[in-house]
Amino acid sequence: MTIALKATDLAKTFDIGKRLIGPPRAQVHAVHPVSFEVQTGETLGVVGESGCGKSTLARMLVGLLPPTSGSIEIEGRALDRADPAAFGRLIQYVFQDPVSSLNPRKTIRQIIEVPLRLLHGLRGKALDDRIAELFDAVNLRPEFLSRYPHEFSGGQAQRIGIARALAASPRIVILDEPVSALDVSVQAQVLNLLADLKAEFNLTYLFISHDLAVVEAVSDRIAVLYFGSIVETGPAEKVFAAPRHPYTSLLADSAPVVGRPLGGAQSGELPDPLNPPPGCAFAGRCPRASDVCRAKVPELRAVEGDQFVACHHPLDP
């Protein structure tokens, strides 16, 4: 097995209230230093609630945001320059809002052509053939090429977004909430298509979502993000079935499931990013919190096999 994507101590800090000269008024640590690896052909699921840094992490991985510190390696090559075009051939992105990710004033052909022309220098017949091939791969009819984005439903627009990402022939695709904007009956169509494409083109996925059940269904491994840090990672079948971090357990209990009484109705909000707590960020909501939790930030460590958890008092399996 080779490593497709490796992030080492990747972190991002945003300045708040920038001034013309002098330091900013405040800083927000959107992503604390995180390290992880994704094997070739694997799907790593990333879950977390809004504001926990999922999209910031994803945007750093594709070079849309320069990291504050840390490094990214793709298939052993370091990518330290935030140049989306250099990243583009190796790693691509599928956006959450399928309609907003397509320029309303361009036809679908114009949209799909761009990566083929700019990243792979295709012209003329080779270009047409490749477009036809891509459209076929995502099950869209060729006559759609001359239409404009607003003429498509969410599911169709998301297929177009996927076709555009594939056009760059990347090794890795970051899927940022790719089905959140879609209806359930259409969501499964897109998820199954993604699974087929992965097998066909031997891709590696990083799948971001807030829907635990969806993540569990498509991932090999799952990383749980809370307040900018990875708090638990492990095999998909174990993370929610036998969570070791109290937050993962809360997440799993909160997901509405038919036949289970309303649960997880625990109060407490995310900590204030401008004024983060000194120890474990979850301490304010955690039933197991102790003094050491409030003083010292827990490190991510192995608890059992390949399940890792950042907690001073992990749950028993």
Binding site: E49, E216, A236, V258
Partner: protein
């Protein structure tokens, strides 16, 4: 383009402006070939001839020059300078705005501070200062007018560009290998052109006026060259003795500026996407009703909806958003209404209190009875007195019901005092109590918070507190937790469930999530293509769905704990409600469909567990 013209001329004033301006521009263009006197030909013997004099239709000025000729040449010049100034200001301003908005950060900061500084000067003073530095002359006046208008364009365009630069298609373009220049030219600029056109069309009139002003002061066109401003300036000394020399250019300026502004407003309205969708007319206070007669009530219930039909009439198309929907809600009961996007859930909910926007919404049939009293077609005052007091709404986005500029406490007090005559202090006490009821920690202090200072979950709790303010009997909750995180969603659902028990509230809960329905609702109704396709006790429907659509939709929902797997999907798309198939709306996607399914409308049959299908599941 033809759509644009049609929209433009729907506005009568804009059409009038277009015609007047068209005539003026045409005449100005034709001036060189019209049989006119030379504009600068003096003839002191014929000074101050009155209009209608022999050979001089509009008379002559203090040097005996033909006024008609000077007016035409002057108009020509003024228009040209005005257009040129608008073009220069528009292009330069747009360029600055696009750069600042797209690159952001320091570039943005520095340029925008500069622009702010320019804007801090009084307009005309700045123009005068520029001309003073450059020296008088028409070209310099043009430069001055253009420069003072650049900040306006830069600000406007920057705002729009920031919006576009954060759209995802810009990120996608970067990942597709486009450089900044290419993105600016092919992705950003095409999307801001309409805004630039709007801004130009609404300011060009003022620029013509400003240029005239400078010329009037002798800083613009130099004698003997005529433009409208300098004609006025020269006529000033003879204002009393020969008023026509002032009136003639004055009326022309008035005509030009007025017609340009009318046309500009028309262009703005026609290009504005919000106004384009046919909503030019003012919305009505309640939904329009066009129904033959109310159907007889089919039973009891706190709230009964019988055969409700709500449609949207857009142009020649009719969208049957809600088609013969019947629901009933008993006191203290929670009824789930579930369906995919566009199935008509929200329109059903909004129809209850006549909240569907008209135009284009029309209620074409059915009845909504609250404690036996029909609300369809009830006068606005009646509905308003019931809204909040009997039936309250909670929406997906609480920001849409909260005013951004008032403390949440004050908004609650306001809501309480609409229906009840209590003192401010009493209302305040109640407001804090309500915030405590929805479990907002430290409610007394939080009452002083603005909506944007609260997290999404907190805001939704305030939304619920607003709904509870007047102790309603019924709450209609339209996807109140869809925008929230799972842990917060669980809190809100638990809260609603407790409130229902404590206060005996009846809830109509709209959602697309079977898990939520399963946990919260006693009964559930499934909507598809504007119709109820299945209804019954939640447990029964979820355990043994009778309609093929319900069954397959449930199968699509991944459940936690299932591990890695292939997910079920329903091929195809939900139907468009302006083009519903005859017979069963699900037939194109149903693998059990027979010819009979496509022939006629299918009834909702069954006693407690109702289903609209010829070949329901489980029946053989």
């Amino acid at each position: 383009m033809s759509l644009f013209l049609r929209l433009l001329f729907r506005n009568k004033l804009a059409g009038f402006g277009a015609v007047v301006l068209g005539v003026i521009v045409l005449l100005a263009l034709l001036t060189p070939i019209l049989p006119l006197h030379l504009p600068n030909e003096t003839n002191t013997a014929n000074r101050f001839l009155r209009p209608m004099s022999e050979g001089h239709l509009l008379g002559t000025d203090h040097l005996g020059r033909d006024l008609l000729s000077r007016l035409m040449w002057g108009t020509r010049l003024s228009l040209a300078v005005g257009f040129a100034a608008a073009l220069v200001a528009g292009l330069l301003g747009a360029a600055i705005g696009v750069m600042a908005g797209y690159f952001g950060g320091r570039t943005d900061n520095v340029t925008m501070r500069g622009v702010d500084m320019l804007m801090a000067f009084p307009y005309i003073l700045l123009a005068l200062a520029i001309v003073a530095v450059l020296g008088p002359g028409l070209l310099n006046a043009l430069i001055a007018v253009a420069v003072v208008n650049i900040p306006f364009f830069a600000r406007n365009i920057r705002g729009v560009t920031v919006g576009i630069a954060h759209r995802e298609f810009i990120d996608a373009a970067k990942l597709a290998g486009m450089g900044h220049t290419r993105i600016l030219l092919t992705e950003v600029v095409p999307n801001i052109v309409p805004v630039v056109v709007i801004a130009m069309s609404t300011t060009i009139g003022w620029m013509i006026l400003e240029t005239a002003g400078l010329s009037f002061l002798g800083l613009g066109s130099q004698p003997p060259q005529a433009d409208l401003g300098s004609m006025l300036g020269e006529a000033r000394s003879a204002l009393i003795t020969a008023p026509h020399t002032s009136i003639v250019p004055g009326v022309m300026i008035l005509l030009i500026v007025m017609s340009v502004n009318l046309l500009g407003d028309g262009i703005r309205d026609a290009l504005d996407p919000r106004l384009r969708s046919g909503a030019l007319a003012r919305p009505m206070a309640t939904t329009r009703v066009e129904r033959a007669e109310a159907p007889a009530p089919k039973g009891e219930g706190l709230l009964r909806i019988d055969d409700l039909e709500t449609q949207f009439h857009v142009g020649s198309r009719i969208y049957k958003a809600v088609n013969k929907v019947s629901l009933d809600l008993k006191p203290g009961e929670c009824l789930g209404l579930i369906g995919e996007s566009g199935s008509g859930k929200s329109v059903t909910a909004l129809s209850v209190m006549g909240l569907v926007a008209s135009p284009p919404g029309v209620i074409t049939g059915g009845a909504v009875r609250l404690e036996g009293r029909d609300l369809i077609g009830a006068p606005y005052e009646v509905l308003r007195s019931l809204r909040g007091r009997k039936v309250a709404y909670i929406f997906q986005d609480p920001l849409s019901t909260l005013h951004p500029l008032y403390h949440i406490g004050d908004q609650l007090i306001e809501a309480i005092r609409v229906h009840e005559h209590v003192t401010h202090a009493q209302a305040h006490e109640r407001a804090v109590k309500l915030l405590e009821d929805v479990r907002i920690p430290n409610a007394g202090a939080r009452a002083k918070a603005y909506p944007h200072e609260l997290s999404g979950g907190m805001r939704q709790r305030v939304g619920i507190a607003m709904a509870l303010a007047n102790d309603p009997d019924i709450i209609i909750a339209d996807e109140p937790t869809t925008a929230l995180d799972v842990t917060v969603q669980a809190q809100i659902l638990a809260l609603l469930s407790d409130l229902r028990r404590d206060r005996g509230l009846a809830i109509l809960f709209i959602t697309h999530d079977f898990g939520v329905v399963g946990q919260l609702c006693d009964r559930v109704a499934v909507m598809y293509g504007g119709r109820i396709v299945e209804a019954g006790d939640t447990a029964e429907v979820l355990a043994a769905p009778a309609h093929p659509y319900t069954k397959r939709l449930i199968a699509c929902v991944p459940e936690l704990g299932g591990g890695r797997r292939e997910l079920a999907a329903i091929p195809g798309l939900p139907p468009a409600v302006d083009d519903l198939p005859a017979g069963c709306a699900f037939a194109p996607r149903c693998d059990k469909a027979q010819t009979a399914c496509r022939a006629d409308e299918i009834d909702l049959t069954g006693d407690t567990h109702k289903v609209r299908c010829l070949y329901p599941e489980g029946a053989s």
